[in-house]
């Protein structure tokens, strides 16, 4: 059986050590001292912690410079500056999106990611080229990681006539979700952009994941407008807002009113714990029973020189930026990089229990908190019961 595997001596979620038997790509049994059936590969876990495969649920695979020579960051400070700078650079560089996406997927998988949601630029310049590149890679890396594609109008929707048709073509072509971006700041027409996006979501029966960098009261209004459309179309549980800086900027009472609405409509919130901006309180979101997820966001691209596509490093940044020091807080950060992401992107059979899909990562360490703090090398990454990357045991 190509998807059978016996993993010896691992500690699921940092608990007691067990052997884990994988049959047909799923966890079949967790017990002590299981015999290896003939022909079934055996991994020596060496007492490492076993986590479910990490979930990087906000990437931009298509436009990374990963694997290219170092490129000094050249954009101005605003979102609009970065969009404009990126369009210029993209023309100059002409990096093949499929090659770049595959490089970054391989980097992410090496760090234990087995599930990705990526936003893919679609605009009237690039048209569907990046989308088609990522589609191609999605097939090519199917045995390494699953990839969900968001058709993402990076340069706006209303200001660039023709964009809606391109987004529609991407949805027909296999994008699972429709994206959006700052309908006020970028499009100067919040209702227009949101109506266009939600109309597509309704017609094609797809989810929505909107970039919202808008701050304070402006962002809060956009959150409300997103919520109204989610409710009107009965899209509960199928909408996400990425970044939502505004939730970390408005006063607590106003924020809590918004969180009640988000909870009711099961709208998920993505934060990557930005370094120098306000961002939503992770603890408060979780207390309000809202799905919180995270991702690498841009990795070494026109937007930022930073990023390693390592979701343990992201969990560290989530914790560091949130002041989480207790084991409880550190585990919460890790939970966002695992179960939070799985919930947000709708993975079924996710986890380290019997019956779950055998997408797993082994990391040496004592506790979940230590993994977030120390971010050790991943000793083994398993996808659908197959070892896709393995380091020598420490």
């Amino acid at each position: 059986m190509p998807n059978d595997l016996l993993i010896r001596n691992v500690r699921p979620m940092a608990g007691a050590a067990f052997d884990v038997l994988v049959a047909n790509g799923r966890i079949a049994k967790i017990a002590h001292n299981m015999p290896a059936a003939p022909g079934v590969p055996v991994v020596d876990g060496a007492g490492a912690i076993m986590l479910p495969g990490l979930v990087d649920a906000h990437m931009h695979l298509d436009k990374t410079f990963w694997g290219e020579p170092w490129r000094p960051h050249s954009a101005g400070p605003t979102v609009a500056d970065r969009i404009e700078n990126e369009r210029t650079l993209r023309r100059e560089l002409s990096l093949p999106p499929a090659r770049q996406a595959e490089r970054l997927v391989r980097q992410a998988v090496g760090r234990g990611t087995t599930h990705i949601r990526t936003h893919v630029d679609i605009d009237t310049d690039v048209k569907l080229a990046n989308f088609e590149g990522v589609l191609e890679v999605r097939e090519r890396v199917r045995d390494l990681a699953s990839i969900q594609i968001v058709a993402f109008p990076q340069s706006g929707v209303m200001t660039r006539p023709g964009t809606v048709d391109l987004l529609e073509a991407a949805l027909r072509g296999g994008a699972e979700l429709i994206g959006g971006i700052d309908p006020g700041l970028i499009d100067r027409d919040p209702a227009g952009q949101l109506d266009a996006i939600f109309r597509l979501a309704e017609r094609f029966g797809r989810g929505v994941d909107i970039h919202l960098h808008e701050g304070g009261d402006l962002g809060a209004l956009t959150v409300r407008m997103i919520a109204e459309r989610t409710r009107a179309l009965g899209m509960e549980g199928r909408v996400a807002i990425s970044h939502a800086f505004c939730l970390g900027m408005i006063d607590d009472a106003e924020r809590d009113r918004l969180l009640t609405t988000l909870r009711e409509l099961r709208i998920a919130i993505m934060t990557n714990a930005p370094g120098d901006r306000a961002f939503p309180s992770i603890r408060r979101l979780r207390e309000a029973d809202i799905t919180v997820f995270s991702g690498s966001d841009g990795v070494r691209d026109a937007w930022t020189p930073f990023g390693t596509a390592d979701m343990l490093e992201r969990a560290f940044l989530l914790a560091y930026r949130s002041g989480f020091r207790t084991d409880d807080g550190l585990a919460l950060a890790l939970d966002i990089a695992t179960r939070g992401g799985a919930a947000a992107i709708g993975l079924e059979g996710y986890g380290v229990e019997v019956g779950c899909a055998a997408n797993l990562v082994l990391v040496p360490g004592e506790t979940l908190g230590e993994l977030v703090v120390a971010r050790p090398a991943r000793t083994c990454v398993i996808r659908d019961g197959r070892v896709v990357t393995a380091l020598p045991a420490p």
Copy 2:
């Protein structure tokens, strides 16, 4: 000659590739294709960037849990909670300060640090035990790194009679600097603590490095009181304030007035770019021509589970928290972890030029910015012309 060395094919500060000849522990010549003299060891730099040894100028070597089993963080959120929790834990754990300090020094050296300033706890419970432990280690690791000791009254000065005598004993015993901590918040007697500290500094002719977590107007007042004493005693260039969160909290005009005073008195500012607190604007401090330095601060101790004693990671956090994305900004963050630290702790002959002490670190990468972003493994660390740690070339 035990301190002679030929380093082939390295790029000082990411410039062009050269060979670097070290004689008697100093950089003697930087040229192309130098012949290796008989008996002189040769290092193949493989085109790595050569930096001066990193400067970790704010550590707490004596109280790290480094190398111990994982210990869940148990302190409350305030500085007072943490001090109290630490005193309790210290009694329970009884970790030998010398052993712990040496573990952390060795970790830091492996990451390229060759110069350390450490604050060492002195209070009426622990008395001089931690200080003596670090003194012992300072001798033992002399060939790995230099260590400056700050006699640090972690639990306050005025509230614990007898502390001043202990601090004085530490200064007699070899501490280079006298420390202090939140004279308002901890001692409830700002003038009293500062007078006691500066009196010791004056009597013994030593520098001052004060922990200041006090926020907003309170912290700003303490900065002014520190400045007044610096001026009165003619201690220009010999005083540092660590953390100085208040400089990131008060309004710009008030801050700029304080910076003018700090500049005039050559008072240096240490920031470690905390994750969830305001901190001084690094860019603004540098524009005001103030020496900025940094350090690991607590590494896996009663104060925080975080930390790796890696000053490239610290430079990353300085840049990430400051929104530095350009090469210029990334290089500034690295400069704080190198030349900024060297200036603050008064190193002479620091750098990668002919005549400088051969405390050097080799890191593979294209540019200084890439080192801060990617924090690659250090391939070679050189102390006084001797290789103290080397990885195989990549």
